[in-house]
């Protein structure tokens, strides 16, 4: 197993060892343009990110809510392509040794060439790749390529995934498991799904990998709630990407808003919390 030395796994474990949670903010590469998104990525690192999740813009992203759809549209309008997106990651790695996970849709991987995609990802300094619309049943080619090139294949797990499915996901996954904090698409929510704690407990029974909660973490309060529910860290997308959209006319204000938002989220994610109480719910129960 290579997962033990994956940089993301190590970064999350280091936080957890100190009683803290990991903070993994998300940006769409090339939003609002190539240069600015590189500056934004660096601002996220300075704000306390333990790793970055970086999205490849896609014309038809059905797992994404409106905030990230708009970001994809802006990035595509500004000319981003997968080869350019890899260039940005490479440029970022030259100045900031930050672990990077990619979020992509499968058609971009297919058209790049599955093996070539993971080879290029590894060369650019990518640690992990989540293909949002690639379930484990169809992931054989991608997982083989990922492992060949030393990139961790990441999978989504939801509260609706029954234990047998979680086992299947765990058998393929490396790096971390992306624990869906809500059943739905990306976008900020005011409250954490009440089923998250039980879902995380079931995932924990299936895997030793870190569990990073994402989708719907709207702000520091939800980040803290996800930690209390048992997540090893949080992934936050729309709440950060929204700051880009809010300041399209003013780059310095955009960068500062992204930095400040990320810093507040990092504080919440990193705050030490009491050890989690045992959930009263039996770990095998499936709410459905």
């Amino acid at each position: 197993m290579r997962s033990a030395d994956n940089r993301i796994t190590a970064a999350v474990r280091a936080r957890n060892a100190a009683g803290q949670g990991a903070f993994v903010p998300f940006l769409v590469i090339g939003d609002p343009d190539f240069e600015t998104s590189l500056v934004l990525a660096k601002a996220l690192v300075q704000a306390g990110a333990d790793a970055l999740e970086l999205g490849f813009a896609f014309s038809d992203p059905p797992a994404d809510g409106p905030v990230i759809q708009r970001a994809d549209e802006r990035a595509l309008a500004a000319g981003i392509t997968p080869p350019r997106a890899f260039d940005l990651i490479e440029a970022l790695q030259k100045t900031h040794a930050i672990p990077v996970s990619l979020l992509v849709y499968y058609n971009l991987v297919l058209q790049f060439g599955v093996d070539a995609f993971y080879a290029r990802a590894a060369a650019a300094g990518v640690d992990a790749v989540l293909v949002a619309d690639l379930p484990p049943e169809h992931a054989a080619d991608a997982v083989r390529a990922a492992k060949r090139h030393g990139v961790a294949p990441v999978f989504l797990a939801s509260e609706l995934s029954p234990p047998a499915r979680l086992e299947r996901i765990a058998a393929l996954a490396e790096g971390y498991v992306y624990a869906l904090a809500r059943v739905g698409v990306t976008g900020e929510q005011r409250a954490i799904d009440p089923n998250l704690a039980a879902a995380l407990e079931r995932m924990r029974a299936a895997t030793d990998l870190p569990l990073l909660a994402g989708f719907g973490i709207g702000g520091p309060a939800q980040a803290l709630a996800a930690r209390r529910a048992g997540a090893d860290g949080v992934i936050v997308g729309s709440a950060i990407v929204r700051r880009v959209a809010d300041h399209l006319d003013d780059r310095p204000a955009m960068i500062e808003a992204v930095r400040a938002t990320a810093a507040a989220l990092a504080d919440a994610a990193h705050a030490p919390i009491e050890p989690k109480q045992k959930s009263p719910m039996p770990s095998g129960a499936v709410p459905c």
Binding site: D60, P62, A63, Q111, L134, H138, L156, G184
Partner: protein, 394 residues
């Protein structure tokens, strides 16, 4: 999932994790319903008494003369709702009710599938939401009015290009958010497994009737079946019965301004294999995999993807896919109206145009069936304006 839903190297279920349990639930319900005589009886009753099946198989003198052989039209235009879409929505609607779902959602382009979904929603007392690109809402006002009369909520989609593919994306998002009580009535033989198989099974009645009616009328099966292909539901329904026989299967894609102009919807003719809306099939896309807009005079064929079974039928050489341009379809629309007093949908006009284009292939012993998938009343304003503009340009 009990099956992977693959057709050769195409198909599958490429969706995010939250949708998997919903697709599994749907697959199980469909497999059980298929084998349940009570479900089959209820569907057959609705198809007969509510929708008007069987639809006639009509021998067209004008087309027979034009192609130099016996040509029959399968009159899906006479089905309740005005198109073959009703076959599928009655089936999926009954499946939804059987699964205890209380809300139907659907995407629609030209509005025919939206109307057919709103219809069964009204009939079964289910809440209906229809996602429709805002451009299409403007282009297809009569169908929007029909959906609203049937009690459906029509949600205009401004995302992306505001057309059918964006409506599908939005319906998938809504479904992801509401999977516990919502049934997604997918309109064409595309999307993630099990939809391509479910839609084919519910549309298969078209080919079954063609087979029986042609044997009764002509004492033999067809030598060729011709149908238009957008996503491909009417075509797969017409083809399915004949895949294991030696009937020629010919799909006609929308050639738009011409397949070499880039403004068309000929996904099989000019696309590449890719992943869109939950399955691997042919896709109109750029070199990096971003999805292109399709173009067709017919809103119902205006789709940059195509059902995975068609991709397999083409790749394996079992079916052939040709195209007809906007102009050729308009000609066929006017020609059939004038010669037969039958007003075909612009979608179905592509099938007529495709048949005319390859007329020299047929000899006197051939028996050709063209699936007339829908009626053209919905297209009147749009088609008349296009015909007038063409006249003025001459």
């Amino acid at each position: 999932m009990r099956h992977t839903g693959t057709f050769g190297r195409f198909g599958g279920f490429y969706v995010a994790e939250p949708l998997i349990p919903a697709l599994e639930e749907l697959e199980s319900a469909w497999i059980e319903a298929r084998d349940d005589p009570e479900f089959a009886g209820a569907l057959a009753g609705l198809l007969r008494d509510y929708a008007g099946r069987p639809t006639p198989l009509y021998r067209s003198p004008a087309l027979s003369e034009e192609l130099g052989c016996a040509v029959y039209l399968k009159r899906e235009d006479l089905l309740h709702g005005g198109a073959h879409k009703t076959n599928n929505t009655l089936g999926q609607g009954l499946l939804a009710a059987r699964m205890g779902k209380t809300r139907l959602i659907a995407e629609t382009g030209a509005g025919q599938h939206g109307v057919a979904t709103a219809m069964i929603g009204a009939r079964l007392g289910l809440d209906v939401k229809i996602f429709m690109g805002s451009l299409d809402v403007a282009r297809q006002a009569p169908n929007v009015q029909r959906m609203k009369l049937f009690g459906a909520e029509v949600i205009p989609i401004d995302n992306g290009s505001g057309s059918l593919k964006d409506a599908i994306n939005e319906a998938m998002r809504y479904w992801t958010e509401h999977i516990r009580d919502t049934f997604y009535v997918f309109g064409t033989a595309a999307g993630p497994h099990p939809y391509p198989s479910i839609v084919r099974d519910f549309q298969r009645v078209i080919g079954e009737e063609i087979h029986a009616q042609l044997h009764a009328a002509h004492g033999r099966g067809p030598t060729a079946v011709i149908a238009c292909v957008g996503g491909g539901s009417n075509a797969i329904g017409a083809f399915a019965r004949f895949i294991d026989e030696d009937t020629a299967l010919i799909g006609v894609e929308p050639g738009g301004h011409g397949v070499d102009t880039g403004k068309h919807g000929a996904t099989l003719g000019a696309g590449r294999a890719g992943c869109l809306h939950g399955s691997i099939s042919y896709v109109l896309q750029d070199a990096h995999g971003q999805i292109h807009e399709a173009h067709s005079i017919s809103a119902g064929l205006d789709y940059p993807g195509v059902g995975p079974e068609h991709a397999h039928l083409m790749a394996s050489g079992r079916a052939e896919y040709i195209s007809a341009t906007d102009d050729e379809a308009l000609d066929a629309f006017a020609w059939l109206s004038r010669r037969e007093g039958i007003l075909p949908a612009l979608e179905s006009s592509h099938a007529i145009a495709g048949a005319r284009r390859i007329a020299d292939r047929f000899g006197p012993d051939d028996v050709v069936v063209i699936n007339l998938s829908g009626r053209g009343d919905k297209d009147l304003a749009h088609a008349m304006a296009a015909l007038d503009a063409r006249e003025a340009a001459r």
